[in-house]
């Protein structure tokens, strides 16, 4: 029987209350949202917080809003809610692609967007999706609120810039016209972590790629993205040749490690091929040729 070690439990009733509790418990506290990463780690004693600050009651952090060209996702939004949201699907289908292949429907009912980002697992899908669309993380602490570009949010495996005493409250994604996006993942079996995955966001100006973002999952890409592939894409024609060149750049730019999910060469190959597929689909969507 796997049960976490003893801990003190605090139920936050508001964001301010959560911040107060975090200040009281200091670095020995961990925030628990859906718990689907943290509780398994606590069962295995890979995490042993002295106190858990439960933010499940914070309805104020459950929302998906589009206003003034910015899509705002509250940190306590469950995966299932992101997947079911039509506004998200309309502007950023990359999130629906990614959510469809995150774990399974029952886990998605509980796991949260904010929890996934803060867990900072190198194989976590949403991190690359948010990196591809150049999102902004909103972090609140005792001194107020600060924003962090998502490409600076993760500083290593299981490590983010969120300090003890701080709480991720929101993710912001700018919505710009003329674009679309897609996410492509290869997994060993349904619901598993990615062997590798790639996300692409493109903005077209006629047949030219005006701007692009490329996110990479589980292949050791710094900050889950590939600036090298993006440099290939910007200003280039939206053609198969360009996608292939970007794929090569993505494959070269990442540093996968071999594990039970596959050897380095295979993962590198996937990083390139999945980048191509994600770009192809994102462009087709931007042209209105594919749902």
């Amino acid at each position: 029987m796997q049960v976490p070690a003893h801990f003190e439990y605090e139920r936050a009733t508001s964001v301010d209350h959560a911040i107060t509790l975090l200040a009281r418990w200091g670095s020995e506290a961990r925030v628990v949202a859906g718990g689907h990463s943290l509780i398994p780690m606590m069962k295995l004693r890979l995490a042993r917080p002295e106190a858990l600050i439960d933010i499940n009651e914070l309805a104020e952090l459950v929302y998906i809003r589009l206003a003034d060209g910015v899509l705002r996702v509250g940190a306590m939004t469950r995966h299932a809610e992101l997947l079911a949201n039509p506004v998200v699907g309309e502007h950023y289908p990359i999130f629906h692609d990614a959510e469809r292949v995150i774990a399974d429907p029952i886990v998605r009912n509980r796991g949260t967007v904010g929890g996934s980002l803060c867990q900072a697992d190198p194989s976590e899908d949403l991190s690359a999706a948010f990196a591809a669309v150049d999102a902004l993380a909103v972090v609140r602490g005792p001194g107020g609120e600060r924003t962090v570009p998502i490409r600076e949010f993760h500083i290593g495996p299981y490590e983010t810039v969120v300090e003890p005493g701080e709480l991720l409250t929101e993710i912001r994604v700018p919505v710009r016209p003329g674009g679309s996006s897609a996410y492509e993942k290869v997994e060993r079996r349904v619901g598993d972590w990615a062997v590798a995955a790639a996300g692409a966001a493109v903005w077209l100006d006629g047949d030219t790629i005006a701007d692009a973002g490329v996110g990479l999952t589980a292949v050791g890409a710094d900050h889950f993205c590939s600036p090298a592939a993006e440099a290939v894409l910007r200003g280039a024609p939206a053609t198969e040749e360009t996608f292939a060149a970007a794929g090569r750049a993505a494959a070269e730019s990442c540093r996968p490690s071999a594990d039970q999910r596959g050897p380095v060469d295979y993962k590198r190959h996937l990083a390139g091929e999945l980048t191509v597929r994600a770009l192809r689909r994102a462009v087709a969507r931007a042209r209105g040729q594919e749902a």
Partner: protein, 157 residues
């Protein structure tokens, strides 16, 4: 140290003392004696521990009992109403939807949730809904048929 929680389980309010680290599955089974909720992999993979939390299926091996405080939980024991099986349960009887029965409570709760939200699901939608739950016996065919049977009952009712 324990903490006091009040949880509505199958419509009935329960107040109990639990350790914060107590998992919802153990609270239901060991403290309330509701052993219909099964417990298998312990790693949120197999789904045999599935119960509903405020009407939505969750894996109770990965939810703390304290998180259910002031919320309502549904288990397989609550499916039957006034001595009458839920159509989903009846479907599992009619279509031989179980063999050993280990996965069955979780499968039926997810099926109930699916039909509540999508009364006429396609086969793909049924398979997708139960894709977070493992069955080592049936090969899923008869589980799908059981859910389809229940859907037909309810659509024609």
């Amino acid at each position: 140290m324990t903490t006091r929680i009040t949880v509505t389980v199958n419509g009935e309010e329960h107040t109990a003392e639990v350790e914060p680290r107590t998992l919802l599955v153990h609270f239901l089974r060991d403290q309330l004696g509701l052993t219909g909720t099964h417990w298998g992999c312990d790693t949120s993979n197999c789904g045999v521990c599935t119960v509903t939390l405020d009407g939505t299926p969750v894996k109770s091996c990965t939810v703390l009992a304290v998180m259910a405080h002031n919320h309502s939980v549904g288990t397989v024991e609550g499916l039957e109403r006034d001595g009458k099986l839920d159509p989903v349960q009846q479907g599992f009887v009619e279509c031989h939807g179980l063999q050993c029965g280990f996965c069955t409570p979780g499968m039926m709760l997810t099926a109930r949730w699916l039909l509540d939200n999508n009364p006429d699901p396609s086969e793909t939608e049924i398979r997708e809904a139960i894709s977070g739950q493992s069955c080592r016996c049936t090969g899923y065919e008869n589980i799908v048929r059981s859910v389809q049977w229940a859907a037909r009952q309810e659509v024609t009712r």
